[in-house]
């Protein structure tokens, strides 16, 4: 197999991931025009965004092909830090209630 053929095969290999990413995004756009409550919409969109990011991480950034130890070193710690940032929501709802109607 020549270098050119090998490269073309790899692109074709990742085309399904590319189309799935586009499809997820278009689904997000479609859902945002439905009359959901903001909280519900954010939850759905975040879930879909996480799916997109997961696909991008694993296939476009080739994290699935790296050693498991790299994945375990990077991702859980990042998720933990991001989850810790969730502490602020109770304060935001408190401030919302403090505003005059």
């Amino acid at each position: 197999m020549t270098a050119a053929t090998s490269s073309a095969n790899v692109i074709r290999k990742y085309l399904p991931v590319y189309f799935v990413l586009l499809a997820i995004f278009l689904a997000e756009v479609f859902l945002s025009f439905q009359h959901f409550s903001t909280g519900f919409l954010v939850a759905i969109l975040l879930g879909l965004a996480l799916c997109s990011v997961g696909l991008g991480l694993m296939y476009f950034m080739h994290l699935a092909q790296e050693r498991r130890s790299l994945f375990l070193s990077l991702i859980p710690a990042t998720i933990f830090v991001l989850l810790m940032m969730n502490m602020i929501w109770s304060d935001s709802f408190r401030i919302l209630r403090m505003h005059s109607p």
Partner: protein
């Protein structure tokens, strides 16, 4: 380790094997990506906090803005695909093809930045600026930070492409450039739903 070993093999003999079986350069970029992801996370959480805590939040995005965002996202995802092609072509030793993919990625990045700036000017025309209120402050901060990453990425890609073409950089450098570019794309996957799609004017 004897003196003769050092003389024969140099300090290479004393070096530990690369952790995670990847070059240090690649590990460094991954660590940078993680720190940048947390930075973007902080900005997006701050945006979310302000949105929840602010009654009568502005929802300025009409259909034209949504179409613009769809186009921008399509361009950025496609640029990730061309970047993938550049990395794989470089690894396969096909330098001309890798260069074509790199130029395509840069072009798409520039197009994305141009559309983004055009949209900003449309908001300015509607008196929505970084100093016009809480929405403006948070929107332009988040999208401005992402745009900065895109522009910085294009410039870095230009340098990597030029040096790779001259044989001064290896396919590994193209790969690490690719990691950064994919990261910029993935951040956009979070920015669009949180900042654009939840602020569509109904």
């Amino acid at each position: 380790m004897s003196e003769s070993d050092l003389a024969m093999h140099g300090h290479e003999a004393l070096m530990e094997p690369s952790p995670y079986a990847i070059p240090s350069r690649k590990l460094t970029v991954w660590l940078f990506i993680i720190s940048d992801a947390v930075t973007f996370g902080a900005f997006l959480f701050a945006y979310g906090y302000l949105r929840v805590a602010t009654p009568n939040w502005v929802r300025p995005f009409e259909s034209s803005s949504v179409i613009n965002v769809i186009l921008m996202t399509f361009i950025l995802i496609t640029s990730s695909l061309t970047m993938l092609g550049a990395v794989d072509s470089a690894k396969a030793g096909d330098k001309p093809k890798a260069m074509r993919f790199l130029y395509s990625t840069m072009l798409l990045g520039i197009l994305f930045a141009a559309l983004h700036i055009r949209e900003w000017f449309q908001l300015f025309a509607r008196k929505i600026t970084i100093s016009s209120g809480v929405f403006g402050q948070s929107f332009f901060t988040v999208t401005g930070l992402h745009l900065l990453h895109v522009i910085g990425g294009v410039i870095a890609m230009l340098v990597v492409a030029a040096l790779y073409a001259r044989g001064r950089l290896t396919p590994g450098h193209v790969e690490t450039m690719g990691l950064y570019w994919h990261f910029v794309d993935l951040v956009w996957m979070f920015v669009v739903p949180l900042v654009y799609l939840t602020n569509i004017a109904h």
